[in-house]
Symmetry: C2
Subunit: 220 residues, 2 copies
Amino acid sequence: MQAVDFYFDFISPYAYLAWTQLPALCARHGVQLRYKPILFAGLLNHWGQRGPAEIAPKREFLWKDTHRMASRLKVPFSLPKTHPFNPLLALRLALPEVSMAQQEQVIDAIWSAGWVQGAELSSIDALHQALTASHLDADVLLDRANQPEAKATLRAATEEAVRAGVFGVPTYHVAQELFWGCDRLDDLANFLAGKDPIDADKIRAILTNYSASADRVKSK
Amino acid sequence: MQAVDFYFDFISPYAYLAWTQLPALCARHGVQLRYKPILFAGLLNHWGQRGPAEIAPKREFLWKDTHRMASRLKVPFSLPKTHPFNPLLALRLALPEVSMAQQEQVIDAIWSAGWVQGAELSSIDALHQALTASHLDADVLLDRANQPEAKATLRAATEEAVRAGVFGVPTYHVAQELFWGCDRLDDLANFLAGKDPIDADKIRAILTNYSASADRVKSK
């Protein structure tokens, strides 16, 4: 069975919006959805990039843009109590090594708490409450998420994402192709349906013969 | 008459794709389209951001993504001979102070030469040829574009864009609202039709009371 790897961080409103669509999209195309929690800040650090919330006018645009997108998708959308927030504990809870057979329920509980109910996703109390409300054993899950092994696993997962070429969230990875952005779900769906309009191999071949100079032009 | 300011750099394939749609979109909504050539590299330098072509997997995604988008829009799409290229001369030609009453023809000629015919847009010869083919007086235009005044004007235009909060291209600016991205033309159209689904003022107000901490979380 083909699988889509969904790279996300609870900090990203675009990843939240993608999550509202992705399970149904994958089910429609008969592909498995694999959840890949990673630390977005780790991607930014690796690629030497600033986060969208770190550029004031981009931050303002981002909030308007995500509200517009939520409206178009007809899904609930609330801002978490603070943003950006420290997503580390939430991400560790979402690791398959921590949430195990309950991974999907844990992830659903955290997304809903933060982006539907507006909870403080860096707070252990808020996470405890969200897990409990979803009939999950919060004490056991939080205990596992706080082990050093979980911290190492999240670091390794983020490094693995970097090696796979992931540079942002949400990213969907399927059969060597990366699709980036909540607004690229249609492209993913086309690809899964065998209707990708481009020849990705041909484009890759063109690029290898193409100027790869990354020198910036300076105004003079 | 309401006006849309279109901030662009000939280096951006997304700005090219937006240009293929924007004149008709503005005409449909009875608004003026004002062309604002700016140096994308100047935006990146100001906001401390890396360009998409400077991150290897993002560069590959970008080319596939723009090919997919061109296919969806049913517009021709060729890669300029080199990329990134030095767009300064092309941008100066596009300034209203240089191309004057012929600004739209000059801009159309340059976009078509680079992104339809695959010309080398940093080359004075290629630009001369493109202008001439469009029945423009290439010698006069290039002479004006090479004056120190034109260089200063492009620098000032880029600085003005930064002050307006422009952080990327293409950006459409209308009535205090910035829309960023070739994939946000529908949002611009909704806004022009009075159908923006969000209350932008309300979101701005929320943001001022919201944590603006830009500290990154470090994996630990």
